[in-house]
């Protein structure tokens, strides 16, 4: 098999085997534990919505009440549906309201009562997951009725804090050429142990992720997709303490892509590593089922560390994300692995280094819809130089066949982009795509040359680091500060108190469906079609 970089297939295979070895113990841990957020996600998938007068969601009340009485070792479903059936409540909302007032005596049912609770819970979850399946088919229908945009997809961000301001901005951005709209979340939503409720009009540098905000924005983009004859995708963030719940809401409201990294919350938000990995596995099972493309956050490593020195940590994280993603049921076409154009432009041959890194990632993951992030760290306020740097980013993106380009703003780091900043950015990428879009097919680095050598060096460093991680264990590596530069011990950080060891009779009606479901529904159009010649597998 030919590759443009002449990578050693044995070394690539070793890298994957090491990633699997490092990841296996984490998967085993995730399979034997649950979290408060996983259990709340079960209730959300069963249709429980709403909040009390203070804004605390009913799912939190119900899970907290069950935890306080029977504990969550058996999962929330058995005691909750048992109480629903035997307590004469009309629905989960009524049960949750009574539970919040301390009026429900939960128990772990046995015998026929247990069987009845299981059956009722399973039926409720089958309906919820049925809605996710229907959404997946609806997405496919929408794409057929409109059209699939050509790659690379252009990814733009909106975030005013007010969903009703976000909507016209998102529609305008789509008309200007965006294929993907991402609504940035309010700062610090990661650290909330509940999902806010309803349409929100206030946020800190972003808009809260809520089920109603998801619904409103998707409906607006459907309207715009029909107007433009091009399916416009919607992205949000399944990260932080409520990752499983937000993933579920994304599936229920037909979001198309979700930021969902295996280690981001640990490193950058000091969320407990165990909590993160358990939450992440459930989230990815939902994403897999919903046909959602995940976006991973490797670009972040390059904003904290030097993009040349740390290039191999990106590859290592991508391989870990790939392992965890596939284990949870994601297809190659759903793995939007991230990386970034963050090398200091003052470094000699910086563009060649960027090409080497981007082409390496392309060849390692030939079928993945790679997400390529623009320069941010070396955007200096010289908007003219920044515009040039963004053009080189776009050029590297088309030459190395990246799938999703987040569009760089020349005013990065100065202000929320002006309308004109966004327009100029789109003009930049349009020019590069039209002028050099087919350059990739002719981009064959000289055998033995600088680009090939650099790619091989990064792959070699990645394998060396993976050897260390798989030997000492991923949790130890994270505790040692291997990723980013922060040390995150396995028992530190936020959210550990929400981790629960599963008892023998643990029952999760969502997992029962997701673990054993037929993963491959209809393949998502061209996402599974690799356009890559000479790919290493």
């Amino acid at each position: 098999m030919q590759t443009r970089l002449n990578l050693d297939p044995a070394m690539v295979a070793e890298a994957r085997a090491l990633a699997a070895k490092a990841g296996q113990p984490i998967v085993a841990m995730a399979r034997t534990h649950t979290t408060v957020s996983v259990e709340r996600a079960v209730l959300r998938l069963a249709g429980l919505q709403g909040a009390d007068a203070e804004g605390m969601p009913l799912v939190n009340h119900l899970v907290d009440a069950v935890r306080a009485t029977t504990g969550l070792e058996h999962g929330v479903a058995l005691p909750a549906w048992d109480a629903l059936l035997t307590g004469g409540f009309d629905n989960l909302a009524a049960l949750a309201g009574a539970a919040a007032r301390g009026k429900v005596a939960f128990r772990i049912p046995a015998g026929p009562d247990a069987a009845a609770a299981r059956a009722a819970a399973s039926a409720a979850l089958a309906a919820g997951i049925g809605r996710i399946d229907a959404n997946r088919m609806q997405r496919q229908r929408m794409i057929e009725q409109t059209s699939e945009p050509r790659k690379p997809w252009i990814y733009l961000i909106v975030a005013t804090g007010d969903i009703f301001e976000d909507i016209p901005q998102a529609q305008a951005a789509a008309r200007e050429g965006a294929d993907i709209i991402a609504v940035i979340r309010s700062t610090g939503q990661s650290l909330l142990d509940y999902v806010p409720e309803g349409a929100t009009r206030e946020g800190f540098a972003g808009t809260y992720a809520t089920q109603e905000n998801f619904r409103l924005m998707r409906a607006a983009l459907d309207e715009t997709s029909r107007e433009l004859g091009r399916y416009v995708r919607l992205t949000n963030y399944a990260s932080g303490l409520c990752m499983p719940e937000i993933a579920s809401l994304a599936g229920l409201e037909r979001l198309d892509m979700m930021l969902n990294d295996c280690m981001y919350g640990i490193i950058f938000r000091d969320i407990n590593p165990r909590r993160t990995f358990i939450d992440q596995r459930f989230s990815r099972q939902i994403h897999a089922r919903a046909g959602i493309i995940i976006n991973t956050g490797e670009d972040n490593y390059l904003t904290t560390a030097d993009a040349v020195d740390a290039a191999h940590t990106v590859v290592v994280s991508q391989l870990m994300n790939e392992f965890f993603g596939k284990e949870a049921g994601l297809a190659d076409g759903q793995l939007g692995l991230g990386h970034a154009f963050e090398i200091n432009p003052a470094v000699p041959d910086s563009f060649l280094l960027e090409l080497a890194h981007a082409q390496l990632v392309r060849e390692l993951f030939p079928d993945a819809p790679l997400k390529y992030m623009p320069p941010t760290k070396h955007m200096t306020g010289n908007v003219f130089a920044g515009y040039l740097l963004d053009a080189f980013f776009n050029l590297c993106g088309v030459m190395t066949d990246q799938s999703i380009l987040l569009i760089g703003m020349m005013t990065e780091g100065i202000h929320t982009p002006f309308l004109s900043d966004r327009d100029l950015a789109l003009e930049n990428v349009r020019y590069v795509r039209d002028a050099a879009g087919r350059l990739g097919e002719s981009f064959v680095p000289a055998p033995g040359g600088f680009i090939e050598q650099r790619a091989k060096q990064v792959l070699g460093e990645s394998v060396a680091l993976l050897r260390r991680i798989s030997a000492e264990g991923l949790l130890t590596a994270i505790a040692d500060g291997t990723f980013g530069i922060t040390k995150r011990p396995a028992d530190g950080g936020r959210g550990l108190d929400g981790v629960i060891s599963r008892a023998d009779g643990y029952f999760n009606p969502a997992s029962e469906i997701l673990e054993y479901s037929e993963r491959a529904l209809a393949p998502d159009s061209d996402l599974t079609a690799a356009a890559q010649t000479g790919a290493v597998r």
Binding site: I157, A159, A172, R175, E176, A182, I184, R185, S186, T187, G188, Q189, S190, L191, F204, A205, G206, Y237, S239, G240, L259, D261, Y264, G265, I267, F268, R269, D270, G297, D299, N300, T303, T304, M373, T376, K377, M379, T380, G381, L406, E412, G413, I414, T416, F418, L419, S420, D423, L424, G484, I485, T486, R494
Partner: protein, 274 residues
């Protein structure tokens, strides 16, 4: 022989030539709309003091907006003798400079303990300063190799904060207060500072950690009244806090005086993963 009075320089001394770009909410579709849009840009340029002005580029953006690039000559004079520079008490340092100053001046890692005290559960502020994630394009204090951060989170009782600070050997204690009902932020800050004073009375040489409070409703000039060393108000960035800590706790050493290059804007995907 520096001139006291100067004008903008295009390609000839004193030509006063500048370039500006802006957007007006006017359509740029039909010839009539285009003419009107350019006229509107000329009017704005004129009011801004550009005379003569030339619209060198106009482009419609969607149905309702037009982007302009305008060159022109301004008649304004810059009087250099009237330029005032506001100086902060401490130099703004880049992360590398902060690390260097701590390394050379302190000779060990600087320990910061952070918390929201009282009933305040709003950790947005303290997290924005402490988490690697940071804000406004600046990484939080965890990003600094020479700073060890202990973030105690929200609703920390003052006695616990004092005790934990002693255990950690805190050089500085950062307290964030967002809730201001009945001046809770003032009361809490005073309670905190007197508890630290009681635990380690100050006489002459410093004893006990440097006390820093922050929050949107604090008056940055009221440190003495609250019994703390420093108050940071609305809009404070992690780089400012790090620079202050290095200035206050690590004696200056040659070559760490600051180049004013703090910040340097590593903004992720405008807050990737929020």
């Amino acid at each position: 022989m520096t001139a006291k009075i100067v004008r903008p320089y295009g390609d000839t001394t004193g030509d006063g030539r500048i370039q500006v770009s802006f957007t007006l909410p006017v359509p740029f579709g039909t010839p009539a709309e285009k003419a009107r849009a350019e006229g509107a840009a000329m009017q704005l340029a004129g009011k801004m003091g550009l005379d003569p002005a030339m619209v060198v580029h106009a482009k419609g953006m969607g149905p309702d907006y037009t982007f302009f690039i305008v060159y022109g000559r301004v008649s304004h004079l810059v009087d250099l003798s009237q330029v005032t520079v506001t100086e902060r008490e401490f130099p703004l340092l880049s992360p590398a400079e902060v690390n260097l100053r701590i390394r050379t001046g302190l000779g060990r890692k600087l320990v910061v303990v952070g918390a929201c005290i009282g009933t305040d559960a709003h950790t947005v502020g303290i997290d924005a300063i402490l988490n690697v994630k940071g804000h406004s394009g600046e990484k939080g204090l965890e990003y600094y190799r020479e700073i060890r951060v202990v973030n105690l989170g929200s609703q920390v009782a003052v006695p616990d904060l004092v005790a934990r600070s002693a255990v950690e050997g805190a050089d500085a204690v950062l307290v964030s207060q967002v809730v201001t009902q009945r001046d809770a932020h003032i009361t809490n800050a005073k309670e905190m500072s007197s508890a630290f004073r009681a635990a380690a009375p100050r006489s002459g040489a410093r004893r006990g950690p440097l006390l820093v409070v922050g929050g949107p409703r604090f008056d940055p000039s009221g440190a003495a009244e609250l019994g703390v060393d420093k108050i940071f108000g609305k809009g404070t960035t992690p780089g400012e806090v790090a620079s202050y800590l290095a200035y206050a706790l690590a004696p200056d050493a040659p070559g760490t005086g600051g180049t004013g290059m703090a910040g340097g804007g590593a903004v992720e995907e405008a807050g990737a993963l929020a």
